[in-house]
Symmetry: C2
């Protein structure tokens, strides 16, 4: 295992310490390992909380700040955070107008956020939930009943975060978050595995000439293992099933998000984006916004995921709205 | 070789096409493979041009836009661009007040930028040059006489770009760029090699328990090969030689830049930043600005480099100034 770490059991704590040292103007890190917006709670603002296993950085801690998340709960690597973290985060960001939990659809995350929401309710905090399940690759998986939540999470957090920053109430941001799910779909693939520090060896074996199509963000299996192919053919295999959902039509405007899995250089991500752009152009679908980079990763895995989100004027405006977090920043 | 590419000889062209498709609001790509700010030339503004081999993305093409570069010349992977590219870029951004070339100290880059500057001069364009040679690891290398230009390049491009955007003249931006070099030093290391697409095999072999200290951005050898160690000890080995330069003193303010080499996850970069922060704090040196992420890479190499830049009020103000490029964006 070759990693820039001190010890497997200190990875998350030390990375969080590094984040707190790097971004004191944006965030604070508090027990029990939660990342909280520096100025939370903000009176009168709906709090936005997400979380999940570590190893997907910058998601979620890198998205805490103005115009996106109010708090994030990082679990151990590829392990759900515990209800105590989610409850602490919920209380830390409660400004009196309720708190929204954005939850990726993994069994542990869903269960623990449900417990936390109940506990917060017992303390008089109104909590609602948006479940993200945008991965078209598989119906159920090692870690889920139903589809997995992947790249759509990043887009949901940005857009819902902007609405909350604008003063929208809990019902509005909840409905907005659910509406986003109607129009967002993703699929990913991997060229290599990744190594969870505590395990010390790659999560799965893969041949020098093989790739995994439909991989999950924890290295869990996808649709099929097959021989490596040129990038354009790989992109076709990812965008095809997304378009087969039947929700993107000629004349639609979309946000296209090409994501690196952690070990994929930007130069390859742009080659992927090129093909995505060609495919959608041929279908009469216009990419009016895009995001290219490594935003939801699987440690050092080489691979990519593609996410499409159908845009309307409201979603476009909220996407464009100012954001200032460690990993996403514009217009301020 | 596992890469998301279509063919080794099309990597740069297709990635540039992807960039042009993704960022038409910021850049355009023109023959002979140059990335130019969309609205160049800007009348009355000093043009800022850089360039070098591809494979270091987002540097340099990702830094073209408002407040940073006016044009970038990408060569083949790890290969200097040719004088024709540099001349075309210089002409494309010439707004009548001269053009500054920011050149990393590699023999091919230096020679070709010199030829281009002469040719531009023949056409009546005043050109000056800032040479970046911030890598303390080795005095000469496979590709250089003198020190190599590495992470300091990113910081130079941002700060000089801000000054040019403010309307500074050619002499001022040149002097500013040279003054930055007095206060910027870097050193890097690698856990793994990288594979140049045209070569098809790793640039060098490295054992499963080894690392290369003082690596260059083309995988060229550094100071020494040794056994892998904990992250904190590795950071000590990088920051030590930087501080031994004797230019950072108790009471100084610095910008600390922790860079990922392309295959290093963000979670590890924050563990590196944590140690950098501790070391400087112990020395009475204050990190007043930081940059953490993969900005000057070596394809998919796993590793990190650390850059320190001494800050004063002017440099801090120019660092903070608005920037809007594909890879660096804030305050707009």
């Amino acid at each position: 295992m070759k990693k820039l770490i001190n010890a497997p059991d200190r990875v998350v704590d030390e990375a969080l310490e590094g984040m707190a040292l790097a971004h004191p103007d944006l965030i604070r890190v508090e027990p029990p390992n939660i990342v909280v917006r520096r100025d939370a709670p903000r009176e009168g603002k709906v709090g936005i909380v997400s979380g999940g296993g570590s190893g997907h950085e910058p998601m979620h801690g890198g998205f805490v700040g103005f115009g996106m998340l109010d708090a994030a709960c990082p679990g151990a690597v590829f392990t759900s955070p515990v209800p105590d973290q989610m409850l602490a985060a919920t209380k830390a960001v409660n400004g009196g107008r309720g708190v929204l939990h954005i939850v990726k659809n993994y069994t542990g995350d869903v269960m623990n956020f449900e417990i936390a929401a109940e506990l917060a309710g017992d303390e008089g905090i109104e909590v609602s939930t948006v479940l993200v399940a945008d991965d078209v690759a598989v119906q159920d998986s090692l870690y889920t009943a139903g589809r997995r939540g992947v790249g759509g999470t990043v887009l949901t957090e940005k857009i819902v975060g902007a609405a909350a920053e604008d003063g929208a109430d809990l019902e509005s941001v909840t409905n907005l978050g659910r509406r986003i799910q109607d129009g967002v779909r993703s699929m990913g693939m991997a060229l290599t595995s990744c190594t969870v520090p505590a395990a010390g060896k790659p999560t799965f074996d893969i041949g020098d000439d093989e790739m995994e199509i439909g991989i999950g963000i924890h290295g869990e299996p996808g649709r099929r293992r097959e021989k490596l192919r040129p990038a354009d053919e790989i992109v076709d295999m990812l965008v095809g099933p997304i378009l087969d959902e039947g929700i993107y039509e000629r004349g639609d405007n979309v946000l296209a998000f090409v994501n690196g899995m952690g070990g994929t250089p930007l130069v390859e991500q742009y080659i992927v984006y090129r093909r995505v752009s060609h495919i959608l152009s041929d279908r009469g679908i216009t990419i009016t916004r895009n995001l290219i980079g490594s935003y939801i990763t699987s440690l050092e895995m080489a691979g990519t995921s593609i996410t499409l989100l159908k845009l309307d004027d409201e979603l476009t405006r909220l996407w464009d709205a100012p954001v200032h977090t460690p990993a996403m920043r514009w217009r301020m």
